[in-house]
């Protein structure tokens, strides 16, 4: 979780231990559980299914994201996280293949130990792949925290997030490593922002490699 940032951009990006499981729930069309260190999220996808006439879009599928916290009712913070996840998913799903249908994504927090938004994004991507929904590219989430002394920490834990002066989450796509979505909190300079984007792009390679390995393991039984 430490990064030594040097001018030559040779840094080692270390992320916490990953874990992923697909198709663990029997009712949804696609489901996945994603674990980053101690942060654990469960995602379920339903779709393409029937949509209410008031919510239907004539040429695209209607994507709805619901985030459930471990304790308590959803608040404004969950609504803004839902908005971030929905915008990322709309960018990568081929929703024009299912007009007048609904796609529902439900994210349940099992344990929150930092980097929650990026864990939501990773779990959502695995769940979409499990449901067989057509996607133009994969996406992943990476969180960076800038500590008081200026050091950049990737995949921070909850204590590291509390002690940081800025927290940045980026959603990166798999084809061109471009930033699909960014959600930031705190104060930082332009140079620090660009540094964090570069670090996130580097970290995303490891996450995509992990996706590939887990999908290969899943299909190994039928091969």
């Amino acid at each position: 979780m430490e990064v030594c940032s040097s001018d030559g951009f040779n840094f080692n990006v270390t992320l916490r231990e990953f874990g992923c499981e697909q198709s663990l729930l029997s009712r949804p069309d696609g489901s996945s559980s994603f674990i980053q260190g101690d942060t654990s999220v469960l995602a379920a996808v339903y779709g393409p299914a029937e949509v209410k006439v008031s919510k239907e879009i004539y040429d695209r599928a209607t994507l709805e994201v619901v985030i459930q916290t471990k304790v308590g009712l959803p608040s404004v913070k969950e609504r803004s996280q839902e908005q971030c996840v929905r915008e990322t998913c709309e960018a990568s799903l081929l929703s024009s293949l299912h007009p007048r249908s609904s796609l529902t994504l439900i994210l349940q927090v099992l344990h929150n130990d930092g980097s929650l938004l990026s864990c939501f994004l990773n779990a959502a991507c695995m769940a979409f792949m499990d449901a067989g929904l057509p996607m133009s590219c994969l996406f992943c989430g990476v969180t960076c925290a800038i500590a008081m002394d200026g050091q950049v920490i990737t995949d921070p834990t909850a204590t590291q997030e509390k002690e940081s002066r800025a927290l940045l989450t980026f959603a990166i796509d798999s084809t061109e490593q471009k930033v699909l979505m960014s959600s930031t909190k705190g104060s930082f300079s332009v140079h620090e922002l660009q540094e964090c984007i570069a670090i996130s792009q580097k970290a995303s390679e490891k996450i995509f490699q992990f996706y590939r390995e887990s999908v290969q393991r899943r299909y190994s039984k039928t091969l």
Partner: protein, 244 residues
């Protein structure tokens, strides 16, 4: 490009993987220029000069030039020409509304049965099971089913289901059961005589001599999805010996 696709047959692909048509700058004067034609099946899309993967799964190939991605899915999307099991939900005027498990209900005209005329209506009630084929199934229109083929004969389609059990499995399992000479059905034939209807929307209907045998066959089919061939054979053998 065909060569880079051929190398990857049998490999697991993820959405976003691209196969590009490599343009050669030099044209050989001695070899003839061959036109490459590739047919993209489910899971592959054309993006200009590239073929892009849009679903995760295993790349399969059928001679001469058909490629597709074999993915495990539970949700059915209507495709023209496929035979599915539907449940009649409403009767409105001249059309039945049938639930096929997709994003909207399909319509089935009462004239689309063998020997049906305006005076001679087919005997279909709400809640009946129908085995029908898609006449129209695209993303922009409401899907339409028919219970006759192009010559007007039923050919196995129509209402069925007195007794028996309807249950849901994944689409991949149904496709495996529909391949000719597949192992699962061969093992099942040796076990109990039973009647089996396979709908490509993931619905199976089974009827055997007794209720208990019907339930056993249903459970065997549901569980054979996640088992290797060896585990399946041992399970069938245990049932045949009467130890279950």
């Amino acid at each position: 490009m065909e060569s880079c696709l051929k190398i990857k047959v049998g490999a697991v692909l993820l959405p976003g993987d691209v196969f590009t048509f490599i343009k050669t700058d030099t044209i050989s004067l001695t070899d003839t220029l061959k036109d490459e034609k590739i047919i993209c099946g489910p899971g592959l899309r054309r993006n200009g000069d590239d073929v892009v993967v849009c679903k995760s799964g295993v790349l399969r190939h059928k001679n001469p030039n058909l490629y597709w991605v074999d993915s495990q899915q539970r949700r059915y999307v209507p495709v023209k020409g496929e035979s599915v099991i539907g449940i009649v939900t409403t009767k409105s005027g001249d059309v039945f509304k049938v639930d096929v498990g997709g994003s909207e209900q399909a319509s089935l005209s009462y004239l689309a049965f063998e020997g049906a005329t305006k005076r001679n209506r087919p005997n279909v009630q709400v809640g009946d099971l129908v085995y029908a084929q898609f006449l129209i199934a695209n993303k922009d229109m409401e899907p339409e089913l028919v219970c006759i083929d192009s010559s007007g004969r039923a050919n196995g389609l129509g209402v069925f289901g007195a007794g028996g059990l309807l249950f849901k499995v994944s689409l991949g399992l149904v496709r495996r059961l529909l391949t000719p000479q597949n192992e699962i059905l061969k093992d099942l034939e040796k076990l109990y005589p039973c009647e089996l209807v396979l709908g490509m929307n993931g619905r199976l209907w089974v009827r055997a001599a007794t209720v208990q045998k019907t339930l056993i066959v249903a459970n065997l089919l549901e569980s054979s999805e996640n088992m290797t061939a060896q585990q399946r054979r041992t399970l069938f053998k245990r049932v045949a010996d009467g130890n279950l």
